[in-house]
Amino acid sequence: SRELFTTAFVEIRDNFRVLFRKLFAGGKADILLTEPEDVLESGIEIVARPPGKEPRSISLLSGGERAMTTIALLFSVFKTRPSPFCVLDEIDAPLDESNIDRFTGMLEDFLEQTQFLIVTHSKRTMSVADVLYGVTMGASGVSKRIAVHMDREDQAAVA
């Protein structure tokens, strides 16, 4: 089990270094063990340095930078141990438009192995979905599913 953990750890770390640079278009990131001599008990330290910035503690990252770092980590785990489906509930809420584009771009790299269900309010994220389901709630507090299509105007707005 020590070997299993170390192999998974090293793979996730290598993926994280690559995917972070891709999501941030630069910068540098790493994952370290706080107690490398005791792999089965050690804590996990995350280092993230957006492009052009000095290395700082991750608590000083902005809301959007923290979300993108966690997304990089999520996808690093998926690359190591693919999951057939993934459900994301408003993960794009803190992101600006260019980060939403990088996030949705990365989704497309994982479509071979993973299917995504994404809850969102962002038209930019909606525009990459194959199908959109609307949920509405009538006056009686009952949810219903409706078909939704993005109209030409909305499509053009995010193009």
Partner: protein, 165 residues
């Protein structure tokens, strides 16, 4: 092992039988605040065997039963079914389609079913072993949790790596 369909009936705000066809690469779920989008995410977590009511934003498990609205009475049964395409035989069952269901009655009695056959929770967990699907993997990221991961302690973060090992 694609997720083809979700059917919810009597679960949270889905009083009526509601079906979602998920057999696509990326499916978007949209709608105004409070309409029931995150309840769809809770339905998926619940049908995979979630035992902690707080992970479904409730205080007791019967909070998932539709409990009425202006002109609707509460129900006594909640049921959610996930239908998987198993033509790749990733799930150790000899069927092209595998339907995983969970039921809960108002009196607290609950049931798990695989292709309409009652099974124990343990059988359900074994079914998904080593497929990457499960409650502790990263396959379901609830609303607002994106920020919690980085603020978790160094030891708490281990579960992500352990699950992958």
């Amino acid at each position: 092992m694609r997720l083809k369909k979700l059917i919810a009936h009597g679960f949270k705000s889905f009083a009526d039988r509601t079906e979602f066809d998920f057999d696509h690469g990326i499916t978007g779920i949209v709608g105004p605040n409070g309409c029931g989008k995150s309840n769809v995410v809770d339905a998926i977590r619940w049908s995979l065997g979630e035992q902690r009511p707080t992970k479904l934003r409730g205080s007791g498990m019967t909070d998932v039963l539709f409990n009425g609205g202006d002109s609707r009475k509460s129900v006594s049964l909640a049921e959610v079914t996930l239908v998987f395409d198993n033509s790749s035989r990733k799930l150790p069952i000899d069927f092209d389609e595998v339907a995983v269901s969970r039921r809960l009655y108002r009196d607290g009695e609950s049931m798990y079913l695989i292709n309409k056959n009652p099974v124990r929770l343990r059988d359900l967990k074994e079914l998904f072993m080593d497929t990457g699907v499960g409650l502790d993997t990263y396959s379901v990221m609830e609303q607002g949790r994106i920020d919690a991961f980085l603020s978790a302690g160094v030891k708490e973060r281990r579960y992500l790596f352990e699950e992958a090992a």
